[in-house]
């Protein structure tokens, strides 16, 4: 259990990472390192997008499944790692020097 906690801490402390959000299958954020309003916004929007992306992948081939989703924007990159019950979202600024 603590291994996972440490892993999350490591990710949070990694270069350029702005924040991490853990969202459950209903779109409710469980754990976050960002402020409340941002978290709620990200959780709701990303959760829908992730489900849609997964639906796309699986519709094409039901034996396939979504591993991860990256949304790169001008300012930063949103990385989404979906799971059966949870979705992990991480916002990183990749070119942060």
């Amino acid at each position: 259990m603590s291994e996972v906690e440490e892993m999350l801490k490591r990710i949070q402390g990694h270069k350029g990472v702005i924040g991490i959000i853990v969202v459950n299958s209903e779109g409710i954020p469980i754990r976050t390192t960002l402020d409340n309003s941002t978290t709620v916004q990200y959780a709701g929007l990303i959760h829908q997008l992730s489900n849609k992306a997964r639906s796309v992948v699986r519709d094409i081939d039901p034996q396939n499944d979504l591993t991860f989703l990256r949304i790169r924007s001008k300012k930063h990159e949103i990385m989404v790692a979906p799971d059966k019950e949870y979705i992990l979202i991480c916002i990183q600024n990749p070119s942060d020097n």
């Binding site: 350029g16 699986r58 039901p62 990385m79």
Partner: protein, 704 residues
């Protein structure tokens, strides 16, 4: 009412009339109008009655009567007669399930039913009537007709007789006749019923007072509603089927499974697991996320790893470069030297690093870290050990088993799938562990009993074979590294051998039993697993300890050795003299052959340099000599080529493992002719080597 009123009124009128008369007469003065008086009396009686009545009418005024002004009194109010039912409710509200609100019903039923009577007349041609008649029977129809006729006849004389009688009676008679007829008809049907007298029979009906109906209704609260939505995609259907199949398989397993208790206990365990801490269930996505973050951070390195080819190599024929890629380190390993590195044979991105200390005086704990190329910032697996790890090897067939040799002479086998910090198997002091540090371990093929086994070589001069039997390690001495040919005489007359110190060994790729042993004295022994007391051959290779011996990847006769005496030597195992000797200017920590070419090898030295040679290109010099460490005074301890990718990893004594990409010049596969693609394969490599050797070798004697 007026008829009744009059006698009632008369009494009071009489009393009052006398008073009134008296008063009136008194008032009028009695003008002798007696006739009028009489009339007046008569009339006045009436008039008085009327007066009194009227007076009574006007005099009474209730207290709470509205005081209205004259204008208001003249105001006209229109009154409209409507057909509305005063008893009907005016506002009925119903819950609309469609709109989920309470809504007023627009029009309320104004129909008021005062009396209903259900009739029981049937049309004689209707089904029911026919059925009844059928029940009664057609035979009955015949008597009913004459009965009716009789009735009519009776009625006629009755009617005739009763002409003078009042009409209602005649009508009554007719009614009676009808009744009689209907009565006689059923009577005739039954035959047993008493015939009622049609003249005297009268029916009386009365109606009770019907209570007025009131309608009452109740409405329950609308049930709570929840929105439900779902999709039916191809994958959802697939999932449902997959689940179903799983369930079926499980039920089949349970049927075949004898221990039902175990299955229930499994259920309990699985239930507990599912209720377990939430955080642990996001382990997998957290891992993926970590790798993604790392990929972003080290994006340029990853791109280089995949795609970078040093373009300048085209202009430099005999030179190559090493491009530094990732650097693996773990915070707790920074004090420890890298004592061993090994690539995982199955998972192409996994590498194992053993940490320990080469310093005899500073012996602390050890560490085993397994890194993945996908996550260079943190190891995938970490094992802490009490003593320094000197060597490790990953089983080629079972990549979760790692054999480890320790500084204290013991060996152990770690299993990566078990979440233990302890080795799964560990040898004991009784079990024949080495009395000096174990310098190398190597997995071998499974023995005849299908038990896994590995070899280890230690500083105590023993080469030991360890077999994994159930939970133990059984050891067998394979060979003892005796120094002298002749044994010294011991006290009891037994023969004592002085044992050398083994520092390196390597097994032949093709012939299983053949292996080489390097010693601290600088000798290399060629041994066979079959002969435990004698060496097949000995090479006086170096002046100082041999750090590493390696058989060539392709050519069966060539091997490399490196030593602390700054040299790297290439040998053919049939000859006593080295074919090539290279002086690298500093103690050589390790050498390795390239997996893709029989003529390429690399060496690392304690001055932090990596030397890469390609004998096909340049027999005397390295193609590349590059310092790969950032701090001076860092010694490089080990080197390994990646079997799949063009990269090498180098371990140093500060606990870092650096990965480097080989430039194209260093991975040349020579072309036979221009335009023809070079054939790949061991045969070609061997031929290449042979060609090379023929240039170097002295003309071989006839035997060889």
């Amino acid at each position: 009412m007026p008829v009744a009123a009059k006698p009632a009124l008369k009494k009071p009128v009489d009393t009052m009339s006398s008073q009134g008369l008296a008063s009136k007469k008194a008032s009028k003065g009695g003008k002798g109008k007696t006739p009028r008086g009489k009339d007046m009396d008569d009339m006045s009686e009436m008039g008085e009655v009327g007066d009194e009545w009227m007076q009574q009418k006007t005099m009474v005024k209730p207290d709470d009567q509205l005081e209205l002004t004259e204008q208001e009194m003249k105001e006209e109010f229109t009154r409209i007669l409507t057909a509305n039912n005063p008893h009907a409710p005016q506002n009925i509200v119903r819950f609309s399930f469609k709109e989920k609100v309470f809504k007023q019903v627009a029009s309320v039923d104004q129909l008021a039913i005062h009396f209903t009577l259900d009739g029981n007349m049937l049309h004689k041609d209707s089904d029911e009537a026919r059925r009844q008649m059928a029940r009664g029977g057609l035979a009955e129809a015949a008597p009913s007709e004459p009965a009716v006729a009789e009735g009519e006849e009776k009625a006629e004389p009755a009617a005739e007789g009763g002409e003078g009688e009042a009409k209602p009676e005649g009508e009554g008679g007719e009614a009676e006749k009808e009744e009689g007829a209907t009565q006689t008809a059923p009577a005739a049907k039954d035959g047993s019923k008493k015939l009622t007298n049609q003249f005297n029979f009268s029916e009386r009906a009365s109606q009770t007072f019907n209570n007025p109906y009131r309608e009452r209704g109740t409405q329950t609260e609308p049930p709570p509603r929840v929105n439900f939505s779902s999709t039916a995609n191809q994958w959802e259907i697939y999932d449902a089927y997959a689940e179903d199949i799983q369930r079926q398989e499980k039920s089949k397993e349970k049927k075949g499974f004898r221990g039902q208790q175990e299955s229930t206990s499994r259920k309990k365990i699985s239930a507990i697991e599912s209720q377990g801490d939430d955080i642990s269930r996001i382990e997998k996505p957290a891992k993926i996320l970590e790798r993604m973050v790392n990929q972003n951070t080290y994006d340029d390195i990853a791109q280089d790893f995949k795609y970078w080819e040093d373009v300048s190599d085209e202009y430099r024929e005999q030179e190559g470069t090493l491009l530094p890629l990732w650097k693996f380190s773990y915070e707790k390993s920074k004090r420890l030297a890298v004592t061993s590195i090994c690539w995982d044979p199955k998972y192409r991105d996994l590498l194992a690093v053993g940490h320990g200390s080469y310093d005899f005086l500073k012996q602390t704990r050890g560490l085993i870290c397994l890194y993945s190329l996908k996550n260079p910032s943190f190891p995938e697996f970490i094992y802490n050990t009490e003593t320094g790890v000197m060597c490790l090897d990953i089983h080629p067939a079972y990549p979760h088993l790692v054999a480890v040799g320790f500084y204290d002479g013991s060996v152990g086998v770690f299993s990566l799938t078990e979440k233990l910090q302890e080795p799964m198997y560990k040898c004991t002091a009784k079990g024949g562990k080495h009395t000096d540090p174990v310098w190398e371990v190597k997995w071998q093929k499974d023995d005849l009993d299908n038990n896994m086994n590995f070899f280890s070589i230690g500083g105590d001069g023993r080469v030991v074979s360890w077999t994994l039997v159930k939970n133990e390690l059984l050891c067998t001495d394979v060979i003892l590294l005796k120094l002298d040919e002749s044994p010294a005489d011991g006290a009891d007359g037994t023969q004592l051998f002085t044992l050398g110190c083994g520092t390196a060994f390597d097994f032949h790729k093709q012939t299983d039993y053949l292996f080489l042993v390097g010693t601290e004295e600088g000798k290399i022994h060629k041994c066979s697993k079959a002969y435990s007391s004698q060496f097949l051959d000995t090479f006086d290779a170096h002046h100082m300890a041999v750090h590493s011996v390696r058989w060539n990847t392709f050519h069966p006769k060539i091997f490399l050795s490196c030593s602390a005496d700054w040299t790297v030597k290439i040998w053919e195992h049939t000859s006593n003299m080295p074919l090539f000797t290279f002086d690298l200017g500093s103690s050589v920590g390790d050498v390795a052959w390239a997996p893709y070419s029989s003529t390429v090898f690399a060496a690392v030295t304690s001055d932090g340099k990596v030397h890469v040679f390609d004998l096909n290109v340049n027999k005397y010099e390295a193609l590349c000599e590059q310092v790969v460490v950032t701090k001076k005074k860092t010694k490089l301890t080990h080197i390994e080529f990646n079997p799949n990718y063009p990269m090498i990893i180098v371990g140093d004594d500060r606990g870092y493992v650096t990965s480097l990409k080989l430039s194209p010049n260093l991975r040349k596969i020579p072309k036979e002719k221009k335009g023809v693609e070079a054939a790949k394969g061991p045969e070609v490599e061997i031929a290449k080597m042979d060609k090379l050797l023929s240039l170097v070798r002295e003309p071989p004697p006839e035997k060889k």
